[in-house]
Symmetry: C2
Subunit: 314 residues, 2 copies
Amino acid sequence: MKGRPIVALAGGVGAARFLDGLARVVAPERLFIIGNTGDDAEIHGLHISPDLDTVTYTLAGLSDPLRGWGIRGDTFRCLESLGRLGGETWFQLGDRDLATHLYRTERLRGGAGLTKVTAEITGALGLRSVIAPMCDDRVRTRICTAAGELEFQTYFVKRRARDRVAGIRFEGSDHALPAPGILAAIEQAEAIIVCPSNPFISIGPILAVPGIREALRRKRDRVAAISPIVGGRALKGPAAAMMKSMGLRSAAAEVARLYQDFTSVFVLDELDRKQAAEVEATGLRPAVTNTVMSGRRERTALARVLARELEIEP
Amino acid sequence: MKGRPIVALAGGVGAARFLDGLARVVAPERLFIIGNTGDDAEIHGLHISPDLDTVTYTLAGLSDPLRGWGIRGDTFRCLESLGRLGGETWFQLGDRDLATHLYRTERLRGGAGLTKVTAEITGALGLRSVIAPMCDDRVRTRICTAAGELEFQTYFVKRRARDRVAGIRFEGSDHALPAPGILAAIEQAEAIIVCPSNPFISIGPILAVPGIREALRRKRDRVAAISPIVGGRALKGPAAAMMKSMGLRSAAAEVARLYQDFTSVFVLDELDRKQAAEVEATGLRPAVTNTVMSGRRERTALARVLARELEIEP
Protein backbone atom coordinates (compact mmCIF):
# COMPACT_ATOMS: atom_id res chain seq x y z
CA MET A 1 0.00 0.00 0.00
CA LYS A 2 1.56 3.27 -1.03
CA GLY A 3 -1.02 5.50 0.64
CA ARG A 4 -2.99 8.37 -0.80
CA PRO A 5 -1.22 10.70 -3.21
CA ILE A 6 0.69 13.75 -2.12
CA VAL A 7 0.26 16.26 -4.89
CA ALA A 8 2.76 19.03 -5.60
CA LEU A 9 2.46 21.97 -7.98
CA ALA A 10 5.92 22.61 -9.33
CA GLY A 11 7.92 25.04 -11.40
CA GLY A 12 11.62 24.56 -12.00
CA VAL A 13 14.70 24.78 -9.82
CA GLY A 14 13.14 25.87 -6.49
CA ALA A 15 10.42 23.26 -6.75
CA ALA A 16 12.89 20.55 -7.74
CA ARG A 17 15.07 21.21 -4.68
CA PHE A 18 12.10 21.08 -2.34
CA LEU A 19 10.77 17.91 -3.98
CA ASP A 20 14.15 16.27 -3.63
CA GLY A 21 13.75 16.80 0.12
CA LEU A 22 10.12 15.71 0.14
CA ALA A 23 10.98 12.44 -1.63
CA ARG A 24 13.26 11.66 1.33
CA VAL A 25 10.55 12.36 3.91
CA VAL A 26 7.60 10.55 2.31
CA ALA A 27 7.56 7.51 0.05
CA PRO A 28 8.48 8.77 -3.45
CA GLU A 29 5.76 6.54 -4.88
CA ARG A 30 3.17 8.77 -3.25
CA LEU A 31 4.35 11.94 -4.96
CA PHE A 32 2.23 13.16 -7.83
CA ILE A 33 3.97 16.21 -9.20
CA ILE A 34 2.08 18.54 -11.52
CA GLY A 35 4.64 20.34 -13.64
CA ASN A 36 4.43 23.66 -15.41
CA THR A 37 4.60 23.40 -19.19
CA GLY A 38 3.80 27.04 -19.94
CA ASP A 39 7.50 27.64 -20.51
CA ASP A 40 7.85 24.77 -22.94
CA ALA A 41 9.40 25.84 -26.20
CA GLU A 42 10.34 24.58 -29.62
CA ILE A 43 14.04 25.19 -30.06
CA HIS A 44 15.93 23.85 -33.06
CA GLY A 45 12.74 21.95 -33.81
CA LEU A 46 12.88 20.14 -30.48
CA HIS A 47 10.15 20.20 -27.88
CA ILE A 48 11.79 21.43 -24.70
CA SER A 49 10.01 21.12 -21.33
CA PRO A 50 12.45 22.92 -19.04
CA ASP A 51 10.48 22.62 -15.80
CA LEU A 52 9.58 18.97 -16.24
CA ASP A 53 13.20 18.18 -16.99
CA THR A 54 14.57 20.14 -14.05
CA VAL A 55 12.32 18.25 -11.66
CA THR A 56 13.04 14.94 -13.39
CA TYR A 57 16.81 15.34 -13.41
CA THR A 58 16.83 16.50 -9.79
CA LEU A 59 14.77 13.57 -8.53
CA ALA A 60 16.90 11.21 -10.64
CA GLY A 61 20.02 12.59 -8.98
CA LEU A 62 21.32 13.81 -12.33
CA SER A 63 20.95 17.55 -11.99
CA ASP A 64 23.73 20.03 -12.00
CA PRO A 65 23.98 21.19 -8.37
CA LEU A 66 25.26 24.67 -9.22
CA ARG A 67 23.13 25.65 -12.19
CA GLY A 68 20.05 23.79 -11.01
CA TRP A 69 19.04 23.00 -14.60
CA GLY A 70 20.58 20.51 -16.99
CA ILE A 71 22.62 17.41 -16.28
CA ARG A 72 25.68 17.30 -14.07
CA GLY A 73 28.90 17.13 -16.05
CA ASP A 74 27.13 17.54 -19.36
CA THR A 75 29.08 18.78 -22.37
CA PHE A 76 27.94 21.24 -25.04
CA ARG A 77 29.60 19.92 -28.17
CA CYS A 78 26.46 19.83 -30.24
CA LEU A 79 25.61 23.40 -29.27
CA GLU A 80 29.12 24.58 -30.11
CA SER A 81 28.84 22.98 -33.54
CA LEU A 82 25.39 24.48 -34.04
CA GLY A 83 26.94 27.85 -33.37
CA ARG A 84 29.54 27.17 -36.03
CA LEU A 85 26.72 26.47 -38.49
CA GLY A 86 25.12 29.79 -37.64
CA GLY A 87 22.38 28.34 -35.44
CA GLU A 88 21.21 30.16 -32.35
CA THR A 89 22.92 29.13 -29.15
CA TRP A 90 21.33 31.28 -26.45
CA PHE A 91 19.36 28.33 -25.16
CA GLN A 92 21.88 26.03 -23.52
CA LEU A 93 21.39 22.44 -24.61
CA GLY A 94 23.81 19.90 -23.21
CA ASP A 95 24.68 16.80 -25.19
CA ARG A 96 23.08 14.40 -22.70
CA ASP A 97 20.16 16.74 -22.11
CA LEU A 98 19.55 16.75 -25.87
CA ALA A 99 18.69 13.07 -25.72
CA THR A 100 15.66 13.90 -23.59
CA HIS A 101 14.48 16.49 -26.09
CA LEU A 102 15.07 14.23 -29.07
CA TYR A 103 13.22 11.39 -27.41
CA ARG A 104 10.32 13.60 -26.34
CA THR A 105 10.02 15.30 -29.71
CA GLU A 106 10.04 12.07 -31.66
CA ARG A 107 7.43 10.48 -29.39
CA LEU A 108 5.19 13.55 -29.53
CA ARG A 109 5.43 13.68 -33.33
CA GLY A 110 4.48 10.02 -33.33
CA GLY A 111 1.25 10.97 -31.58
CA ALA A 112 1.98 10.16 -27.93
CA GLY A 113 0.77 12.65 -25.33
CA LEU A 114 3.18 14.61 -23.17
CA THR A 115 1.89 12.84 -20.06
CA LYS A 116 2.79 9.46 -21.51
CA VAL A 117 6.15 10.58 -22.84
CA THR A 118 7.04 12.17 -19.50
CA ALA A 119 6.15 8.91 -17.75
CA GLU A 120 8.42 7.04 -20.16
CA ILE A 121 11.31 9.39 -19.47
CA THR A 122 10.90 9.40 -15.69
CA GLY A 123 10.46 5.62 -15.71
CA ALA A 124 13.62 5.11 -17.76
CA LEU A 125 15.54 7.31 -15.32
CA GLY A 126 14.30 5.23 -12.40
CA LEU A 127 11.95 7.73 -10.78
CA ARG A 128 9.27 6.30 -8.54
CA SER A 129 7.24 9.52 -8.35
CA VAL A 130 4.78 10.64 -10.99
CA ILE A 131 5.68 13.79 -12.86
CA ALA A 132 2.70 14.92 -14.91
CA PRO A 133 2.62 17.94 -17.16
CA MET A 134 -0.27 20.24 -16.24
CA CYS A 135 -1.88 19.34 -19.57
CA ASP A 136 -1.17 17.56 -22.82
CA ASP A 137 -2.32 20.62 -24.76
CA ARG A 138 -0.07 23.35 -26.00
CA VAL A 139 -0.14 26.23 -23.53
CA ARG A 140 2.49 28.94 -23.90
CA THR A 141 3.30 31.65 -21.41
CA ARG A 142 3.66 34.99 -23.18
CA ILE A 143 5.20 37.98 -21.48
CA CYS A 144 3.94 41.47 -22.30
CA THR A 145 6.77 44.00 -22.17
CA ALA A 146 7.61 47.39 -23.62
CA ALA A 147 9.45 45.46 -26.34
CA GLY A 148 6.19 43.74 -27.23
CA GLU A 149 4.82 40.34 -26.34
CA LEU A 150 7.65 37.85 -25.96
CA GLU A 151 7.78 34.09 -25.99
CA PHE A 152 8.65 32.96 -22.52
CA GLN A 153 12.12 31.59 -23.22
CA THR A 154 12.96 34.67 -25.26
CA TYR A 155 12.03 36.81 -22.25
CA PHE A 156 13.57 34.50 -19.68
CA VAL A 157 16.74 33.12 -21.23
CA LYS A 158 17.57 35.15 -24.31
CA ARG A 159 16.80 38.55 -22.74
CA ARG A 160 17.69 37.35 -19.22
CA ALA A 161 14.37 38.38 -17.69
CA ARG A 162 15.40 42.04 -17.84
CA ASP A 163 12.28 43.45 -19.45
CA ARG A 164 9.72 45.06 -17.20
CA VAL A 165 6.69 42.77 -17.21
CA ALA A 166 3.44 44.56 -17.95
CA GLY A 167 1.36 41.42 -18.13
CA ILE A 168 1.37 37.68 -18.65
CA ARG A 169 -0.97 35.48 -20.60
CA PHE A 170 -1.14 31.76 -21.12
CA GLU A 171 -1.83 31.20 -24.78
CA GLY A 172 -4.02 28.17 -25.33
CA SER A 173 -4.97 27.70 -21.70
CA ASP A 174 -8.66 28.47 -22.27
CA HIS A 175 -9.14 25.26 -24.18
CA ALA A 176 -6.65 23.09 -22.33
CA LEU A 177 -7.71 20.06 -20.34
CA PRO A 178 -5.89 18.95 -17.20
CA ALA A 179 -3.58 16.07 -18.05
CA PRO A 180 -5.00 12.59 -17.44
CA GLY A 181 -4.99 11.70 -13.75
CA ILE A 182 -4.47 15.19 -12.39
CA LEU A 183 -7.99 15.93 -11.19
CA ALA A 184 -8.30 12.47 -9.65
CA ALA A 185 -4.95 12.87 -7.89
CA ILE A 186 -6.03 16.22 -6.43
CA GLU A 187 -9.37 14.79 -5.35
CA GLN A 188 -7.77 11.78 -3.66
CA ALA A 189 -4.77 13.64 -2.30
CA GLU A 190 -3.91 13.37 1.34
CA ALA A 191 -2.06 16.65 0.98
CA ILE A 192 -1.27 19.19 -1.70
CA ILE A 193 1.82 21.39 -1.72
CA VAL A 194 2.45 24.46 -3.80
CA CYS A 195 6.22 24.47 -4.20
CA PRO A 196 8.32 27.62 -3.70
CA SER A 197 8.03 28.61 -7.35
CA ASN A 198 7.22 31.84 -9.15
CA PRO A 199 3.48 32.42 -8.64
CA PHE A 200 3.04 34.08 -12.04
CA ILE A 201 5.10 32.04 -14.46
CA SER A 202 5.49 28.68 -12.70
CA ILE A 203 2.33 28.13 -10.65
CA GLY A 204 0.23 30.58 -12.71
CA PRO A 205 0.12 28.44 -15.86
CA ILE A 206 -0.93 25.37 -13.88
CA LEU A 207 -3.74 27.30 -12.20
CA ALA A 208 -4.81 28.62 -15.60
CA VAL A 209 -5.71 25.17 -16.89
CA PRO A 210 -9.50 25.07 -16.49
CA GLY A 211 -10.53 22.80 -13.65
CA ILE A 212 -7.33 22.69 -11.67
CA ARG A 213 -7.85 25.75 -9.49
CA GLU A 214 -11.45 24.68 -8.81
CA ALA A 215 -10.30 21.20 -7.81
CA LEU A 216 -7.74 22.73 -5.45
CA ARG A 217 -10.38 24.96 -3.88
CA ARG A 218 -12.42 21.90 -2.98
CA LYS A 219 -9.39 20.59 -1.10
CA ARG A 220 -8.40 23.93 0.42
CA ASP A 221 -7.94 22.55 3.91
CA ARG A 222 -5.37 20.08 2.57
CA VAL A 223 -3.31 22.63 0.61
CA ALA A 224 -0.12 24.28 1.83
CA ALA A 225 2.05 26.70 -0.13
CA ILE A 226 5.68 27.64 0.41
CA SER A 227 6.63 31.23 -0.21
CA PRO A 228 9.11 31.73 -3.06
CA ILE A 229 9.81 35.21 -1.68
CA VAL A 230 12.21 35.50 1.22
CA GLY A 231 13.04 38.87 2.70
CA GLY A 232 11.35 40.58 -0.21
CA ARG A 233 13.46 38.79 -2.79
CA ALA A 234 13.12 35.71 -4.91
CA LEU A 235 15.85 33.19 -4.25
CA LYS A 236 15.93 32.47 -7.97
CA GLY A 237 14.34 34.11 -10.98
CA PRO A 238 12.36 37.25 -11.56
CA ALA A 239 9.45 36.75 -9.15
CA ALA A 240 10.19 39.81 -6.98
CA ALA A 241 10.64 42.20 -9.90
CA MET A 242 7.53 40.77 -11.51
CA MET A 243 5.42 41.36 -8.43
CA LYS A 244 6.53 44.97 -8.30
CA SER A 245 5.92 45.62 -11.95
CA MET A 246 2.47 44.04 -11.60
CA GLY A 247 1.68 46.56 -8.83
CA LEU A 248 2.16 44.22 -5.86
CA ARG A 249 4.64 44.35 -3.00
CA SER A 250 7.36 41.74 -3.36
CA ALA A 251 6.43 40.15 -0.07
CA ALA A 252 5.63 36.63 1.07
CA ALA A 253 2.26 37.80 2.34
CA GLU A 254 1.34 39.00 -1.13
CA VAL A 255 1.93 35.50 -2.47
CA ALA A 256 -0.32 34.14 0.27
CA ARG A 257 -2.99 36.52 -0.97
CA LEU A 258 -2.62 35.21 -4.55
CA TYR A 259 -3.25 31.68 -3.30
CA GLN A 260 -5.81 32.36 -0.55
CA ASP A 261 -8.81 30.87 -2.36
CA PHE A 262 -7.29 27.40 -2.49
CA THR A 263 -4.63 27.34 0.25
CA SER A 264 -5.02 26.97 4.01
CA VAL A 265 -1.41 26.81 5.18
CA PHE A 266 1.30 29.23 4.11
CA VAL A 267 4.95 28.59 4.89
CA LEU A 268 7.16 31.66 5.22
CA ASP A 269 10.76 32.11 6.04
CA GLU A 270 12.07 33.10 9.46
CA LEU A 271 13.16 36.34 7.81
CA ASP A 272 9.52 37.16 7.13
CA ARG A 273 8.18 36.21 10.55
CA LYS A 274 6.65 39.67 10.87
CA GLN A 275 4.34 38.92 7.96
CA ALA A 276 2.76 35.96 9.76
CA ALA A 277 -0.02 38.15 11.13
CA GLU A 278 -0.75 39.53 7.71
CA VAL A 279 -0.91 36.01 6.29
CA GLU A 280 -3.27 35.02 9.10
CA ALA A 281 -5.47 38.04 8.36
CA THR A 282 -5.74 36.76 4.79
CA GLY A 283 -7.31 33.61 6.18
CA LEU A 284 -4.31 31.26 5.92
CA ARG A 285 -2.51 29.60 8.77
CA PRO A 286 1.11 30.78 8.74
CA ALA A 287 3.98 28.42 9.42
CA VAL A 288 7.36 30.01 9.92
CA THR A 289 10.55 28.08 9.27
CA ASN A 290 13.79 28.24 7.35
CA THR A 291 12.84 27.96 3.67
CA VAL A 292 16.25 28.60 2.11
CA MET A 293 17.41 25.24 0.82
CA SER A 294 21.18 25.55 0.82
CA GLY A 295 21.69 21.81 0.86
CA ARG A 296 20.08 18.44 1.33
CA ARG A 297 19.72 18.96 5.07
CA GLU A 298 17.64 22.12 4.57
CA ARG A 299 15.53 20.50 1.83
CA THR A 300 14.65 17.62 4.08
CA ALA A 301 13.97 19.87 7.07
CA LEU A 302 11.58 22.01 5.04
CA ALA A 303 9.83 18.88 3.75
CA ARG A 304 9.41 17.69 7.35
CA VAL A 305 7.74 20.98 8.26
CA LEU A 306 5.28 20.53 5.40
CA ALA A 307 4.61 16.94 6.40
CA ARG A 308 3.91 18.07 9.96
CA GLU A 309 1.73 21.04 8.98
CA LEU A 310 -0.34 18.89 6.64
CA GLU A 311 -0.32 15.95 9.05
CA ILE A 312 0.88 13.63 6.31
CA GLU A 313 0.92 10.02 7.47
CA PRO A 314 4.41 8.58 7.20
CA MET B 1 37.65 33.41 -63.37
CA LYS B 2 37.05 30.04 -61.86
CA GLY B 3 36.63 28.16 -65.13
CA ARG B 4 33.86 25.84 -66.22
CA PRO B 5 32.43 23.46 -63.62
CA ILE B 6 33.82 20.03 -62.97
CA VAL B 7 30.84 17.92 -61.98
CA ALA B 8 31.11 14.85 -59.79
CA LEU B 9 28.46 12.26 -58.97
CA ALA B 10 29.13 11.13 -55.45
CA GLY B 11 28.07 8.60 -52.86
CA GLY B 12 29.67 8.46 -49.43
CA VAL B 13 33.09 7.48 -48.16
CA GLY B 14 34.79 6.36 -51.42
CA ALA B 15 33.58 9.44 -53.25
CA ALA B 16 34.58 11.74 -50.42
CA ARG B 17 38.14 10.42 -50.40
CA PHE B 18 38.48 10.84 -54.15
CA LEU B 19 37.00 14.35 -54.03
CA ASP B 20 39.41 15.30 -51.29
CA GLY B 21 42.17 14.49 -53.78
CA LEU B 22 40.42 16.21 -56.66
CA ALA B 23 40.03 19.42 -54.66
CA ARG B 24 43.84 19.50 -54.37
CA VAL B 25 44.35 19.04 -58.11
CA VAL B 26 41.78 21.49 -59.47
CA ALA B 27 40.46 24.70 -57.95
CA PRO B 28 37.87 23.64 -55.34
CA GLU B 29 35.61 26.47 -56.56
CA ARG B 30 35.12 24.58 -59.81
CA LEU B 31 33.80 21.43 -58.17
CA PHE B 32 30.06 20.92 -58.42
CA ILE B 33 29.33 17.74 -56.51
CA ILE B 34 25.98 16.04 -56.97
CA GLY B 35 25.30 14.01 -53.85
CA ASN B 36 23.11 10.99 -53.34
CA THR B 37 20.16 11.57 -51.05
CA GLY B 38 18.46 8.22 -51.62
CA ASP B 39 19.89 7.01 -48.33
CA ASP B 40 18.60 10.01 -46.40
CA ALA B 41 16.59 8.99 -43.40
CA GLU B 42 14.52 10.40 -40.58
CA ILE B 43 16.06 9.17 -37.36
CA HIS B 44 14.85 10.44 -33.98
CA GLY B 45 12.86 12.93 -36.00
CA LEU B 46 15.98 14.36 -37.60
CA HIS B 47 16.63 14.55 -41.32
CA ILE B 48 19.91 12.73 -41.87
CA SER B 49 21.76 13.03 -45.20
CA PRO B 50 24.63 10.61 -44.66
CA ASP B 51 26.28 10.95 -48.07
CA LEU B 52 26.08 14.73 -48.21
CA ASP B 53 27.58 14.92 -44.74
CA THR B 54 30.38 12.46 -45.46
CA VAL B 55 31.47 14.50 -48.46
CA THR B 56 31.04 17.78 -46.59
CA TYR B 57 32.99 16.71 -43.51
CA THR B 58 35.76 15.21 -45.65
CA LEU B 59 36.20 18.33 -47.76
CA ALA B 60 36.06 20.46 -44.61
CA GLY B 61 38.87 18.38 -43.11
CA LEU B 62 36.61 17.29 -40.28
CA SER B 63 35.99 13.65 -41.13
CA ASP B 64 37.05 10.72 -39.07
CA PRO B 65 39.93 9.19 -41.02
CA LEU B 66 39.32 5.64 -39.82
CA ARG B 67 35.54 5.34 -40.00
CA GLY B 68 35.17 7.59 -43.01
CA TRP B 69 31.86 8.91 -41.72
CA GLY B 70 31.17 11.31 -38.90
CA ILE B 71 33.41 13.90 -37.33
CA ARG B 72 36.90 13.26 -36.06
CA GLY B 73 37.06 13.03 -32.27
CA ASP B 74 33.31 13.27 -31.91
CA THR B 75 31.68 12.00 -28.72
CA PHE B 76 28.43 10.06 -28.40
CA ARG B 77 27.00 11.34 -25.15
CA CYS B 78 23.60 12.19 -26.55
CA LEU B 79 23.30 8.76 -28.13
CA GLU B 80 24.30 7.05 -24.90
CA SER B 81 21.63 8.99 -23.04
CA LEU B 82 19.08 8.20 -25.73
CA GLY B 83 19.84 4.55 -25.17
CA ARG B 84 19.21 4.98 -21.48
CA LEU B 85 15.79 6.43 -22.33
CA GLY B 86 15.01 3.38 -24.45
CA GLY B 87 15.60 5.09 -27.78
CA GLU B 88 17.17 3.23 -30.67
CA THR B 89 20.91 3.61 -30.95
CA TRP B 90 21.87 1.54 -33.98
CA PHE B 91 22.40 4.67 -36.06
CA GLN B 92 25.52 6.30 -34.70
CA LEU B 93 25.02 10.01 -34.15
CA GLY B 94 27.93 11.93 -32.70
CA ASP B 95 27.35 15.00 -30.58
CA ARG B 96 28.95 17.39 -33.06
CA ASP B 97 27.41 15.57 -36.00
CA LEU B 98 24.00 16.05 -34.39
CA ALA B 99 24.32 19.78 -34.84
CA THR B 100 24.27 19.31 -38.61
CA HIS B 101 21.12 17.22 -38.41
CA LEU B 102 19.41 19.61 -36.03
CA TYR B 103 20.28 22.58 -38.21
CA ARG B 104 19.16 20.84 -41.40
CA THR B 105 15.94 19.54 -39.91
CA GLU B 106 14.94 22.89 -38.48
CA ARG B 107 15.66 24.70 -41.75
CA LEU B 108 13.79 22.11 -43.82
CA ARG B 109 10.79 22.30 -41.47
CA GLY B 110 10.93 26.05 -41.92
CA GLY B 111 10.45 25.54 -45.66
CA ALA B 112 13.98 25.85 -47.03
CA GLY B 113 15.00 23.37 -49.73
CA LEU B 114 17.73 20.80 -49.15
CA THR B 115 19.90 22.48 -51.78
CA LYS B 116 19.80 25.77 -49.92
CA VAL B 117 20.33 24.19 -46.52
CA THR B 118 23.28 22.15 -47.82
CA ALA B 119 24.81 25.33 -49.23
CA GLU B 120 24.41 27.00 -45.83
CA ILE B 121 26.12 24.10 -44.06
CA THR B 122 28.99 23.80 -46.53
CA GLY B 123 29.41 27.58 -46.52
CA ALA B 124 29.54 27.71 -42.72
CA LEU B 125 32.20 24.98 -42.74
CA GLY B 126 34.29 26.95 -45.20
CA LEU B 127 33.89 24.77 -48.28
CA ARG B 128 34.56 26.43 -51.59
CA SER B 129 33.02 23.63 -53.67
CA VAL B 130 29.31 23.24 -54.31
CA ILE B 131 27.69 20.17 -52.81
CA ALA B 132 24.20 19.81 -54.22
CA PRO B 133 21.74 17.08 -53.31
CA MET B 134 20.51 15.26 -56.42
CA CYS B 135 17.07 16.75 -55.78
CA ASP B 136 15.11 18.69 -53.19
CA ASP B 137 12.33 16.09 -53.33
CA ARG B 138 12.05 13.13 -51.04
CA VAL B 139 13.53 10.08 -52.75
CA ARG B 140 14.15 7.01 -50.65
CA THR B 141 16.14 3.94 -51.65
CA ARG B 142 14.28 0.79 -50.67
CA ILE B 143 15.97 -2.59 -50.64
CA CYS B 144 13.99 -5.72 -51.53
CA THR B 145 15.15 -8.70 -49.50
CA ALA B 146 13.80 -12.04 -48.33
CA ALA B 147 12.92 -10.20 -45.10
CA GLY B 148 10.73 -7.83 -47.11
CA GLU B 149 11.35 -4.36 -48.43
CA LEU B 150 13.64 -2.46 -46.09
CA GLU B 151 14.38 1.20 -45.62
CA PHE B 152 17.90 1.80 -46.75
CA GLN B 153 19.47 2.58 -43.38
CA THR B 154 17.69 -0.39 -41.83
CA TYR B 155 19.27 -2.61 -44.49
CA PHE B 156 22.63 -0.88 -44.45
CA VAL B 157 23.33 0.05 -40.84
CA LYS B 158 20.88 -1.76 -38.59
CA ARG B 159 21.13 -5.11 -40.43
CA ARG B 160 24.71 -4.45 -41.59
CA ALA B 161 23.99 -5.01 -45.28
CA ARG B 162 23.76 -8.75 -44.69
CA ASP B 163 20.48 -9.42 -46.49
CA ARG B 164 20.64 -10.75 -50.00
CA VAL B 165 19.43 -7.97 -52.26
CA ALA B 166 16.73 -9.04 -54.68
CA GLY B 167 16.01 -5.59 -55.99
CA ILE B 168 16.26 -1.89 -55.35
CA ARG B 169 13.79 0.87 -55.96
CA PHE B 170 13.93 4.59 -55.47
CA GLU B 171 10.67 5.62 -53.90
CA GLY B 172 9.59 9.03 -55.12
CA SER B 173 12.13 9.32 -57.91
CA ASP B 174 9.53 9.29 -60.68
CA HIS B 175 8.28 12.71 -59.70
CA ALA B 176 11.56 14.19 -58.50
CA LEU B 177 13.14 17.16 -60.20
CA PRO B 178 16.92 17.61 -60.37
CA ALA B 179 18.01 20.10 -57.71
CA PRO B 180 18.36 23.71 -58.88
CA GLY B 181 21.53 24.21 -60.89
CA ILE B 182 22.31 20.57 -61.55
CA LEU B 183 21.27 20.35 -65.18
CA ALA B 184 22.99 23.64 -65.98
CA ALA B 185 26.18 22.48 -64.27
CA ILE B 186 26.17 19.26 -66.27
CA GLU B 187 25.52 21.13 -69.48
CA GLN B 188 28.30 23.64 -68.84
CA ALA B 189 30.72 21.14 -67.32
CA GLU B 190 34.23 20.89 -68.65
CA ALA B 191 34.34 17.38 -67.24
CA ILE B 192 32.11 15.02 -65.32
CA ILE B 193 33.37 12.32 -62.98
CA VAL B 194 31.44 9.40 -61.57
CA CYS B 195 33.16 8.77 -58.24
CA PRO B 196 34.12 5.26 -57.08
CA SER B 197 30.79 4.70 -55.37
CA ASN B 198 28.29 1.85 -55.32
CA PRO B 199 26.58 1.90 -58.74
CA PHE B 200 23.25 0.71 -57.33
CA ILE B 201 22.74 2.57 -54.09
CA SER B 202 25.02 5.60 -54.45
CA ILE B 203 25.09 6.50 -58.15
CA GLY B 204 21.82 4.70 -58.95
CA PRO B 205 19.55 7.11 -57.06
CA ILE B 206 21.18 10.12 -58.76
CA LEU B 207 20.67 8.57 -62.18
CA ALA B 208 17.06 7.80 -61.28
CA VAL B 209 16.14 11.46 -60.97
CA PRO B 210 14.42 12.21 -64.29
CA GLY B 211 16.60 14.33 -66.54
CA ILE B 212 20.01 13.67 -65.01
CA ARG B 213 20.96 10.54 -66.96
CA GLU B 214 19.75 12.17 -70.18
CA ALA B 215 21.83 15.26 -69.47
CA LEU B 216 24.89 13.07 -68.84
CA ARG B 217 24.33 11.21 -72.12
CA ARG B 218 24.51 14.48 -74.00
CA LYS B 219 27.94 15.04 -72.43
CA ARG B 220 29.11 11.43 -72.77
CA ASP B 221 32.49 12.35 -74.25
CA ARG B 222 33.23 14.45 -71.16
CA VAL B 223 32.28 11.77 -68.61
CA ALA B 224 34.71 9.46 -66.81
CA ALA B 225 33.83 6.90 -64.16
CA ILE B 226 36.07 5.28 -61.58
CA SER B 227 35.43 1.65 -60.76
CA PRO B 228 34.34 1.02 -57.18
CA ILE B 229 35.21 -2.66 -57.70
CA VAL B 230 38.85 -3.68 -57.38
CA GLY B 231 39.91 -7.28 -57.81
CA GLY B 232 36.29 -8.36 -57.74
CA ARG B 233 35.64 -6.73 -54.39
CA ALA B 234 34.28 -3.43 -53.21
CA LEU B 235 36.76 -1.51 -51.10
CA LYS B 236 33.89 -0.46 -48.89
CA GLY B 237 30.26 -1.49 -48.66
CA PRO B 238 28.14 -4.14 -50.24
CA ALA B 239 28.62 -3.38 -53.95
CA ALA B 240 30.25 -6.72 -54.82
CA ALA B 241 27.68 -8.86 -53.04
CA MET B 242 24.92 -6.74 -54.55
CA MET B 243 26.20 -7.25 -58.07
CA LYS B 244 26.26 -11.00 -57.57
CA SER B 245 22.81 -11.16 -56.07
CA MET B 246 21.53 -9.04 -58.96
CA GLY B 247 22.90 -11.64 -61.41
CA LEU B 248 26.03 -9.75 -62.45
CA ARG B 249 29.68 -10.57 -62.03
CA SER B 250 31.34 -8.48 -59.36
CA ALA B 251 33.81 -7.07 -61.83
CA ALA B 252 34.94 -3.60 -62.79
CA ALA B 253 33.96 -4.27 -66.41
CA GLU B 254 30.39 -4.92 -65.31
CA VAL B 255 30.25 -1.47 -63.76
CA ALA B 256 31.51 -0.01 -67.03
CA ARG B 257 28.60 -1.73 -68.76
CA LEU B 258 26.12 -0.15 -66.31
CA TYR B 259 27.46 3.30 -67.20
CA GLN B 260 28.16 2.81 -70.91
CA ASP B 261 25.35 4.98 -72.22
CA PHE B 262 26.69 8.13 -70.57
CA THR B 263 30.39 7.44 -69.92
CA SER B 264 33.33 7.50 -72.32
CA VAL B 265 36.30 6.89 -70.00
CA PHE B 266 36.45 4.13 -67.40
CA VAL B 267 39.18 4.01 -64.78
CA LEU B 268 40.07 0.58 -63.42
CA ASP B 269 42.62 -0.59 -60.96
CA GLU B 270 45.96 -2.13 -61.88
CA LEU B 271 44.61 -5.32 -60.34
CA ASP B 272 41.94 -5.42 -63.04
CA ARG B 273 44.20 -4.60 -65.98
CA LYS B 274 43.00 -7.75 -67.75
CA GLN B 275 39.49 -6.30 -67.93
CA ALA B 276 40.63 -3.30 -69.96
CA ALA B 277 39.89 -5.06 -73.22
CA GLU B 278 36.40 -5.95 -72.02
CA VAL B 279 35.80 -2.34 -71.05
CA GLU B 280 36.99 -1.24 -74.46
CA ALA B 281 34.65 -3.74 -76.14
CA THR B 282 31.81 -2.06 -74.23
CA GLY B 283 32.68 1.15 -76.03
CA LEU B 284 34.51 2.95 -73.21
CA ARG B 285 38.14 3.98 -73.16
CA PRO B 286 39.84 2.18 -70.28
CA ALA B 287 42.42 3.91 -68.08
CA VAL B 288 44.36 1.70 -65.73
CA THR B 289 45.92 3.09 -62.56
CA ASN B 290 46.03 2.56 -58.83
CA THR B 291 42.57 3.37 -57.52
CA VAL B 292 43.01 2.28 -53.91
CA MET B 293 43.18 5.50 -51.91
CA SER B 294 45.17 4.52 -48.84
CA GLY B 295 46.17 8.08 -48.11
CA ARG B 296 46.28 11.63 -49.40
CA ARG B 297 49.08 10.81 -51.84
CA GLU B 298 46.96 8.14 -53.55
CA ARG B 299 43.86 10.35 -53.61
CA THR B 300 45.76 13.12 -55.32
CA ALA B 301 47.44 10.76 -57.76
CA LEU B 302 44.08 9.30 -58.78
CA ALA B 303 42.65 12.78 -59.22
CA ARG B 304 45.60 13.66 -61.49
CA VAL B 305 44.84 10.65 -63.69
CA LEU B 306 41.25 11.81 -64.06
CA ALA B 307 42.35 15.36 -64.82
CA ARG B 308 44.68 14.01 -67.50
CA GLU B 309 42.17 11.59 -69.03
CA LEU B 310 39.50 14.30 -69.21
CA GLU B 311 42.02 16.95 -70.27
CA ILE B 312 40.85 19.27 -67.52
CA GLU B 313 42.47 22.68 -67.80
CA PRO B 314 44.41 23.47 -64.65
